[in-house]
């Protein structure tokens, strides 16, 4: 009788211990899941912000060739005169951008225009940054040529 009672008691103790273990495991799992979703939400927000910046830059009427309301046809002469302060006025501070024609390596300045194909604005320097890119066209004002390039925009802390 006593043994049966002891066994029942042991059963309840083991059951309680097991239930507590399961509860702690669930708590740890939920904590880990919360941290995971916070980090993935942050990543999703960064991508949303980057997509917005890419669209803003590539569709800006100040940079596109006249007649291309749909955007994505950046004019090289407009890119060459654009400065970091202009970009900050357009999309805010903490942003950098680069337009690079495929196979080009020469950075554009007013002195070497149009024999160049890379435009950089507000370089991040050594700061940590997040960047996204998309293809764009670059219209060469003098030769009336249309080339393909990559627009990269990013933001840093």
């Amino acid at each position: 009788m006593l043994r049966k009672g002891q066994m029942h008691l042991m059963e309840y103790v083991l059951l309680a211990f097991f239930i507590l273990m399961v509860i702690f495991l669930i708590i740890f799992f939920l904590m880990g899941w919360n941290i995971g979703t916070t980090s993935s939400r942050q990543h999703a927000l960064q991508q949303q912000r980057a997509t917005f910046l890419l669209k803003t830059f590539s569709n800006s009427p100040y940079l596109n060739k006249e007649g291309f309301k749909e955007g994505g046809m950046l004019e090289d002469s407009k890119l060459t005169v654009l400065e970091c302060s202009d970009l900050e006025e357009l999309v805010g501070r903490g942003i950098f951008a680069e337009v690079k024609i495929i196979d080009s390596i020469t950075e554009c300045e007013q002195e070497n225009y149009p024999r160049c194909g890379v435009w950089k604005f507000c370089s991040p320097g050594n700061k940590q940054f997040t960047a996204y890119d998309t293809p764009v066209n670059v219209y060469r004002t003098l030769t009336r040529d249309v080339e393909i390039g990559i627009l990269t925009v990013g933001f840093y802390e």
Binding site: I19, W33, Q47, Y132, V136, N137
Partner: protein, 158 residues
Amino acid sequence: MIVLIIIIFIGVGLFLLISSLTTEGTEYYNLYTHDLLVSVMRVKTGYKNPCETVSDTLYCAMTRVERQCKYSMDETIKKDCREVADEVTPEVIRKVLTTKPSLDYYMIIQPEDPEHLGGEIITYGNPDVQNRGKTWTANERVLRYQTNLQIQLILTSI
């Protein structure tokens, strides 16, 4: 009883896990695919009319089979529209995608009316892309007098 409790907790945990899963980056990759397709179509090929841009060249390749295009830098060089299309289109896409080595593509060019032009289709890239799980697709129409073209670009992660 304990088994029932465990099953309930696992069920709740799975529900929370599944509801937290999101399709990451869809908007960005949709934008990228669309911009890639539009940008490629607008690029000048280096050849003269009717092969001035990639979209012109593809249209010529589909509709004016025997038409030839002169190279701008050397007019003695003449190629069929289809030759120019095959030379330029995949090369431009390949060059852009060197900046995204994790992506593969498939492009389909066909007349809007499939019965027109004998239902011919021009394709570039890897056809297996269509059968991959996660893909991003962009569509463009090339509007012309004789027939419109439908151009579809499909991207996927390798």
